[in-house]
Symmetry: C2
Subunit: 338 residues, 2 copies
Amino acid sequence: MRVTINDIAKAANVSPATVSRAIADSPRISKATKKKIFKIMEEMNYYPNVIARSLARKSTNIIGILVMGTTEKAFQHPFFPEILRGVASVAYKNKYKILISSVTNMDEQREIVDDLTQSGITDGILLLSSGVKDPSITYLKEIQFPFVVVGRPDNENEVNWVDNDNISVGYKMTQHLIEMGCTEIAFLGVDRKFIVTLDRLKGYKMALQDNNIALNEDLIVEGKFVDDTGYELMKNLMEKGIVPSGVIACDDLLAFGVIKYLNEKGLKVPDDVAVAGFNNVPLSSYFTPPLTSVDINAFSLGAKGFELLMACMKSEYKSFNRAIIPTQLIIRESTLKK
Amino acid sequence: MRVTINDIAKAANVSPATVSRAIADSPRISKATKKKIFKIMEEMNYYPNVIARSLARKSTNIIGILVMGTTEKAFQHPFFPEILRGVASVAYKNKYKILISSVTNMDEQREIVDDLTQSGITDGILLLSSGVKDPSITYLKEIQFPFVVVGRPDNENEVNWVDNDNISVGYKMTQHLIEMGCTEIAFLGVDRKFIVTLDRLKGYKMALQDNNIALNEDLIVEGKFVDDTGYELMKNLMEKGIVPSGVIACDDLLAFGVIKYLNEKGLKVPDDVAVAGFNNVPLSSYFTPPLTSVDINAFSLGAKGFELLMACMKSEYKSFNRAIIPTQLIIRESTLKK
DNA sequence: CTGAAAGCGCTTACAG
DNA sequence: CTGAAAGCGCTTACAG
């Protein structure tokens, strides 16, 4: 049998209440008593049962993370583990545990959100997805359950969220390509289900405008966001007879496919076509040529997201907080035209 | 206030015990009573409190996953999310939840294992690491806590584990390179802390022997397993004046670095040097040239790992089970010498 | 087929 | 500074 708080109480000649208070380091217990209790706990190898504690406290110190993996590739994207590392690092320091669920579609997500919130297992939820019109967000707001979205949601003023400034991210990259002399810049991988891609596109458009470059809708290509379909997207574009001088892909993985296709067509990157991605995956620096990208600081997204969630779980005052994580444009050979 | 089993009992004019049994679909409750109870549960929007249930049942239906991320890069490796997907998929079907912890060293791992096992939060543990002389394994065996290791541990006959046959994996790849005409084959990324690298090395040696190729210890290079240090490892090797005709790297990430270095030195892959990796990361097919690798079926590793763990948590009969997940050699241009 | 009661292992308002 | 008691919301052996 495992040793309980009652065993400790008996051995220490105090009440279970006193042991409980000693563990919680209550100022109402004398130092001497605490010391005695801790000694006995040590000797008897006592560990508090967190389930019992959770039931009594009506709080578990567990948060749920929902990873929306629309495709396998999305889930394999290195930026998820990075966000997770960020969350875990802050959570660990604050004695929180992390329950993880990966979901493949919105319906499944709603089901899991339902379970996680109603079963009493989690104190708060972190949504790693920023789907447009996300039903989970509506629901979580409705039941007033603490949650934070990593990724700006569409109702941004009524939700706690953390994200990069993706408009600025798109702007910076476009500006960079323009400075490299590109005028016909294709923008690949716009996925209307993901706000992040729409924001980056918005930044792209703004940069063109600021540089008096006319917008050519043909250069904007919809497609999956995080996937390895860059090859096909580029192929489709060029088979329409369009050969841009620069290509911005919404994710590095797409950019790799783009470069592969260009290589096959005998076009040189960056001299014939400059190519850039976003999210700065670890391999971008090893690609041939090394890929220009934007580091989104996924670790910080996760860490900050958890901080917001903690605030949200603790505070009795309702508010909607947001946090913007800075990004860095990482210029590599793939856009450095001679 | 949330609605409890007692509220349902009152509304249905039965005892809480009956409601509890109805939820558990006990055959001892009449169909009529069940129907009445379910209807009321629905109406009152009742969800069982899993914490209370866990306390009463002394079992939580939560498993803990420990990801050993010795380096950031290791954690970012696409094969972790893939394993996780596999675990999650089977866990979800069986109504298990997943608690995830990432640890950066063995001491931290022990601490977390301690917490996870003693606090009563998890019913079983999945270790995603196969460190040599892992203290957590020793401990888990000692306290007889249900656990499974993904990756063959050194005391393989006293532990439940799932893994690929990494000796065979190393053998297959080496054999392939030999068939491509390579005789001087370098083997990069042997990390004595990771059994998987030692096993692959063993397969390499066996293949050489079977083909009557003398082992040249200079061609075996120790290094980090999952990291982007391939460039340096290859550089060190060649600066000793060694130019192999084939290179096998213990992970695709290393192989990418190797190819980058070879490119810089003006050596053609595969014609001058054939290069292969392991683990078949998503980008391997997009690399220039596309990289020969071995698919380890990470999803299956995870799924099977969880199955073993379930068996281990449920069975009253002690046994040590293992599962071997098949692998596929994926031959791409990087080793296809003309 | 159903219920009363004890129990899971904690916490905490109340009382002293 | 400490304790007795009630309570968190379930489950289950026992009894009928």
